[in-house]
Amino acid sequence: MIELQILSLLILAPLVHGWIKRCKAYLQGRTGPSVLQPYRDLRKLWRKETVWSSSATAISRIGPQLAAGLVVSAAAMLPVADRSGGWLAGSSVFAFLSTLALVRFATVLVGLDSGSAFAGMAAGRDLLFSLLIEPTVFLALLAVSLPGAAFTFTGMIALQQATGASHLAMTVLVLCTLVIVAVTETGRLPVDNPDTHLELTMVHEGMLLELTGRQLAAVSWSAQVRQLLWFTLIADVCLPFDVGHNPGALALGFGLLLWAAKCFLLATLVAAVETGAAKLRIFAVARLLSFALTLAVVAVLADALF
């Protein structure tokens, strides 16, 4: 039944993206596009002609497919509604985060390969943020797994279900940390503005400026999946109710519904944060991320001391 869960995640990712857009539009007093618009955009891009930058090499051709393939592998490592075994790489945290790092690597290469100055600057900024965010993620997840010493997602879910209530302070701290991480990793305000047309300010979008057609569809879709993966990770680690062990068909269906509800809730939260925030100065992002790091350190300490 793992395939069904992976498939739901891959299929639902654009919908979550559309939902965030719709919520933001509502909060800004606009009607906004339909929640299905990301699917239509992907279909449109898939049918479009591909135009290559004059400096593009094979990297631009295979990079987007590689990124898409890697996010599918990452999706196969993260439990959605079943914490029993069978997930790729034993749902190891290292494997999952490394796969996401490889997705970023592929995207950055594609950006650099286009030869556009915008993409080069955007790649530099993206790598700067990743440098600041990666230790924080590991530390936050370490805080969760420290009591049980299982550095896998399935292990963490089981541990949180069993003892989470007694580690409430730690869980809340980890939740706050991971929300900041997710906002950064998904390229949202106050770190990056996904809706801007101002190339000079872009981070994630900047790397995609020279892509067209199917390549752009692949990278856009993998960014949407990556976003849902982060929401799922937060749901798994901090809100793991009803992630069953080898659930039956009915329990699995219920688990999937509950997972979707948690993800849409997080998406709504992100939309609210984005509406109230403005974009930080690039070098002030470091302050926000060191705040996240501090939260993670305190979470580890909260674990060790209480």
């Binding site: 800004q28 100055a117 600057m121 809706d195 801007t196 047309h197 190339e199 974009k279 100065r281 690039i282």
Partner: protein
């Protein structure tokens, strides 16, 4: 009071330098082809002293067989663009100009094609201009970021070339004039009253101000004054234009940093003000409201009430929006110290309007050289000393409330005056003396717009020179961007909110 000083072409640069040294500032510079009249070209530099209210015209007659004169730019940096433009379009060479690159044309000059010369037919085809971009020789660690001329947003075209070191802008060069429409050439030969239609379409968002500058130039040329009721209506129109522009600019600054609450409410308020324009004048951009000699239509009691009730509704809204923006931590952090323009740089470059006042210089055409009915009003001129994006934002917020007060006062004056007859709205236009000229100045939402109009022997337009506020301020944008993060450039650009079309004409 205009003093005219006629000097030899080889001395004009020095004479201009002397005036600049005495505290005069360059208001505009015009080159004219007067070979039909005197067999020569003429360049005129207009200098003003805002404190003593003096205007000086330095004029040099340039023989047609030796079309060159001494450049003022080494001593008066603000003359840079004017002299390059006169070289591009009239072929008069400013000798001693430090950077005589093409301004209106990109890349290369065309040789003997000078569109503003009288013997150049407006329908003639120009040869294609080839633009060659050579890769810049840059030291290690530096790179170039070319942006535009076509941009991702629905904005006008302009090419920007940043020299970068990491995220910091070391130098910026802006190539504008992609929207050069030849308006000044087109206006030549049109009846003086009709030239207004060209002048007010120089800019999309400063139509009233351009129309006023043109109308005032013609009124000065034929020596008439608009009737008093027209003066008050002109005040209302000019201030309505300032309102929707300033509100839109405040929203746009928020959009530059992704602050959607500010951007969306700014857009909403701007839309409501433009709908008010449409209801009152019949045009969202207030076009067709000003006429040479007065105004094209009255402002009846019902329309005055409409303006009043709209302002009563929108002013508290804007006030609340300003509070939200100015109390937002990230917004304040982004705006403070960004894109700083020092008063010295502003004076050197000849900056005008809110951008100048936000650098601490108190100058406003409405107060210093009153036109329309501004002379009968007391104009408060707020200034902010910091010269950063925040100051330019606060400047616009303060000016919004000033404009609301001026509109209310003007409406009240119109209320207490008897109902005007059509003759009270527009003075008849007498015929113009051949080769007489006039200068009209008005304060647009972006600053001083200066129109120079010369009549020909048939009472039509001989020469029109539009010096928009954007033309004066563009060099300040490139100067203010240096040493800032490149990601702040859109914000800095929006804080000046300059127009490309009325700069390029």
């Amino acid at each position: 009071m205009m003093v005219i000083e006629t000097v030899a072409p080889s001395e004009i640069g020095q004479v201009c330098a002397a005036y600049a040294k005495r505290g005069f500032r360059l208001q505009t510079m015009v080159g004219t082809d007067e070979r039909r009249l005197s067999g020569a070209y003429v360049v005129r530099y207009l200098f003003v002293d805002d404190v003593a209210h003096e205007t000086v015209e330095c004029r040099a007659t340039i023989p047609a067989d030796k079309p060159s004169y001494s450049s003022a730019t080494p001593h008066v940096p603000a003359a840079d663009w004017y002299e390059r433009e006169v070289f591009d379009l009239l072929g008069l060479r400013p000798v001693g100009h430090p950077r005589l690159e093409p301004l209106v044309l990109h890349g290369e000059r065309l040789g003997e094609y000078y569109p503003l010369r009288k013997d150049f037919d407006i329908a003639a085809e120009l040869p294609p201009v080839v633009r060659r971009v050579a890769p810049a020789a840059l030291p290690d660690g530096y790179f170039e970021v070319p942006v535009g001329p076509i941009h991702a947003g629905v904005i006008e075209p302009g090419h920007f070339r940043f020299t970068m070191r990491g995220e910091v802008v070391e130098a910026l060069r802006a190539d504008l004039f992609y929207t050069h429409r030849g308006l000044e050439k087109r206006a030549e030969g049109m009846p003086l009253a009709d030239g207004l239609r060209i002048a007010e379409q120089a800019c999309g968002v400063c139509s009233v101000s351009h129309a006023l500058s043109y109308a005032q130039a013609v009124e000065a040329l034929v020596n008439i004054a608009p009737p008093p009721a027209a003066g008050w209506i002109r005040v209302v129109l000019a201030e309505l234009e300032r309102l929707y522009n300033h509100v839109g600019d405040v929203g746009n600054i928020c959009a530059g940093i992704g602050f959607s609450v500010g951007a969306m409410h700014g857009a909403r308020l701007k839309e409501e003000l433009q709908q008010l324009n449409d209801n009152v004048v019949g045009h969202r951009f207030l076009r067709g409201a000003v006429a040479v000699g007065g105004v094209a239509q009255g402002l009846g009691a019902a329309k005055r009430d409409q303006v009043r009730s709209a302002l009563e509704r929108l002013t508290p809204d804007f006030s609340a929006l300003a509070d939200v923006i100015l109390s937002h931590g990230i917004v304040c952090d982004r705006l403070r110290d960004t894109g700083r323009l020092t008063p010295q740089a502003a004076a050197r470059l000849g900056v005008v309007g809110p951008a100048l006042r936000a650098s601490g210089v108190s100058r406003d055409v409405r107060r210093d050289a009153p036109y329309a009915a501004y002379g009968a009003l007391s104009i408060a001129v707020p200034t902010y000393p910091q010269g950063d994006v925040m100051a330019r934002l606060e400047q616009r917020i303060a000016e919004f409330f000033g404009s609301v007060a001026l509109i209310q006062e003007a409406l009240w004056r119109l209320d207490s005056a008897p109902k005007p007859q059509p003759a009270d709205l527009c003075a008849p236009l007498p015929s113009a003396a051949p080769f007489a000229y006039g200068v009209g100045v008005s304060e647009s939402p972006r600053g001083e717009n200066v129109h120079f109009v010369m009549a020909n022997e048939h009472g039509a337009v001989e020469r029109l020179r539009i010096r928009s506020a954007s033309y004066a301020n563009w060099p300040a944008v490139t100067s203010a961007a240096v040493d800032n993060l490149i990601a702040d450039f859109p914000l800095i650009n929006k804080s000046f909110e300059l127009c490309y079309a009325c700069c390029d004409r």
